[in-house]
Subunit: 381 residues, 2 copies
């Protein structure tokens, strides 16, 4: 009995320790692409808390969070959908739902997780609790640009057919609305933070195509006809991420394709308002949450550098070299700090966004995407 | 020993239960104004989890959250500043820092909590960890409209002198910038979600005064000269809350003073773009997070009713009577549901914002303000 008592005492202590951390508002996960693991991090402590392994191929991986910020749904390139509990720091479920996947989304009520597939194409939708498949939506195409929209909807686009579909899960059966003629080979898409405007980037032609999701019958709207590789056919080292569009208030800032510049676009009319020359081909142009600064990283071989642009003057106000292969940036939710993944240095670096001082380096295995839990409360991330 | 073992087993179970909930992203607190208590609620379960008592006078109380969403700082009318741990569901610290207080704010890094005082006036700033006072800023006036701004700053305004002060805590000592001539008897203020524009409402004259905090030397900008009680001197049952300004994208919606209408204002130019007639004198006009709807509640004696306005058509699309004394509304972070405090029914009511269906009633003691933890990640709330 004494041994039992001590055993229980030990279990009691273990349980108490196990329950830490007990608040999840300032946590995050960093994708470790080479090792199929994610690193749990704490923004306030600027520290790594734990590594969770066994997530498969995490090259080009992304994730979304449950509304309570307890669970992350991680979308691997290999079609794996892994549910991680960041409180217990364990994988709680994993399904390999396709052969080759490219991102996902979670419905506004947190009940449905959707995954966009290259192979076999289409979108599959899962119960967020159990990961049981609740809908299989074949599209006859590689599917890209999957986002959530208000009203339990998902929006996604077909690389092969140039269609965008809106899948509405408000009722018992999903209702699909199909919009044709979005353009040649859409390669990525974004939705604005309010969930109103969906914009696809095109690989097969210049320009972008927008949809007003508040319209009863959304029609393709061609915008920025000069946006693309253009006549010069410059080598494009990496197509820029559209999710990286920075919304500074009245304007968007977007990475040019194949050129060393970012474009400024009026947020209401989607017409160009200016350009800023940059150090290299931009990959992400991300606004600090208050919109006063835009941080830009660049494609290989110039991917060791960050430039910071002031949105009032549209001038570069700071430039520095964090290290080799800066792949991603994530701001703290109110913007006072920014975390950078420096893949080939094996580090995540934390900077003060007012002073540009480096505050901390955190060891990580080939870090790429950084995802803070505040994303749980935003649309379209 | 057997008894000890069972005792430990019971303790083990209690500890496990005690650690719930272990994720704080979908929690919230409801102010129970008559009993000096707060009700901890869970958005996903649409349920009350616990009542925390002993917070003093909570008439006109508000609160802010720490970045990790573990702690709430509750500002009571009696000058009490109470720190509540929503994981352990206990008061962890409480100071009575003034005789009569009116709201507070938390710095963007989560390190400083500031309180705005009527009596003795001024602003006091506390260490968020210990609640030790780190700065006392006498202003010689009742102080209102205290908000946080990016860069570890607080902005607040003097009822008596019509000055707005910006207190910058980025360095070792706070730097104070004083802006005079904001107008006669400012009674409340707001800061836009990006932290750029600070706007004061005036009791002593019509119109509003704005400051561009991105300017190196912010100057008072008079806007909406017709905004106020105007010539008719209609009885004003309650001055509307400015925090309730709804930002729908290109426009703000604000409650008229003493009139049965809301005003639409261009967000860039701050000029009026339209008016919508309403059921009563609006108190809060709050945008669903996607900006597509604005929900309006009204002053006594018409405070049993809610109207929902569509922001595309500016028309009332839904009206209903939740019950007597609807005091406050809080949307889930992605807007699929809204919680209403119906004080004299002793209930918080949860509605679907797409179907307007009532989903749940939760018992509460004279509920007023509802504060979800997602506020931790927003500026100026």
């Amino acid at each position: 009995m004494r041994r039992l008592a001590f055993g229980l005492m030990a279990a009691l202590l273990a349980t108490t320790a196990h329950a830490e951390p007990t608040a999840t508002g300032d946590l995050g996960l960093v994708i470790e692409r080479a090792t199929g693991s994610v690193l749990l991090v704490d923004q306030s402590d600027r520290a790594a808390l734990a590594r969770i392994e066994g997530l498969g191929d995490l090259s080009h991986a992304s994730l979304v969070y449950s509304p309570d910020q307890q669970f992350a749904y991680i979308f691997g390139r290999d079609g794996g959908l892994t549910k991680v509990d960041i409180v217990t720091r364990k994988i709680v479920n994993r399904v390999v739902q396709a052969g080759n996947a490219i991102g996902g989304a979670i419905s506004d009520d947190g009940k449905l997780v959707a995954v966009s597939n290259y192979e076999p194409g289409g979108v599959r939708v899962f119960d967020a609790d159990t990961l049981e498949m609740v809908a299989d939506i074949p599209t006859g195409s590689k599917t890209i640009g999957l986002v959530d929209a208000p009203g339990r909807r998902f929006v996604f686009t077909m690389w092969d057919s140039g269609e965008t579909w809106i899948a509405d899960f408000a009722g018992a059966d999903p209702q699909i609305t199909k919009i044709t003629d979005m353009g040649a080979n859409p390669y990525d898409a974004l939705i604005t933070a309010n969930g109103r405007t969906y914009i696809t980037g095109l690989f097969g032609e210049d320009g972008l195509t927008a949809l007003d999701l508040w319209s009863e019958n959304p029609e393709p709207i061609r915008v920025l006809p000069g946006y693309g590789r253009g006549q010069q056919e410059m080598p494009v080292y990496k197509m820029p991420h559209l999710e990286g569009w920075a919304h500074t208030g009245d304007e968007f800032v977007l990475p040019a394709v194949g050129h060393h510049e970012v474009l400024w676009v009026d947020a209401s009319t989607l017409t160009e308002t200016g350009r800023t020359k940059t150090y290299g081909q931009p990959v992400f142009a991300m606004a600090r949450p208050d919109g006063r600064q835009v941080w830009v990283n660049f494609a290989h071989p110039l991917n060791d550098t960050i430039q910071v642009i002031d949105t009032l003057t549209k001038q570069v106000v700071h430039e520095f070299k964090p290290g080799p292969a800066v792949l991603h940036m994530e701001f703290t939710p109110r913007g006072h700090e920014v975390w950078l993944s420096v893949r080939d240095a094996g580090k995540v670096m934390v900077y003060d966004t007012q002073t540009f001082e480096k505050l901390r380096e955190i060891e990580a295995e080939s870090p790429s995407g950084i995802f803070f839990t505040a994303r749980a409360h935003r649309t379209g991330l």
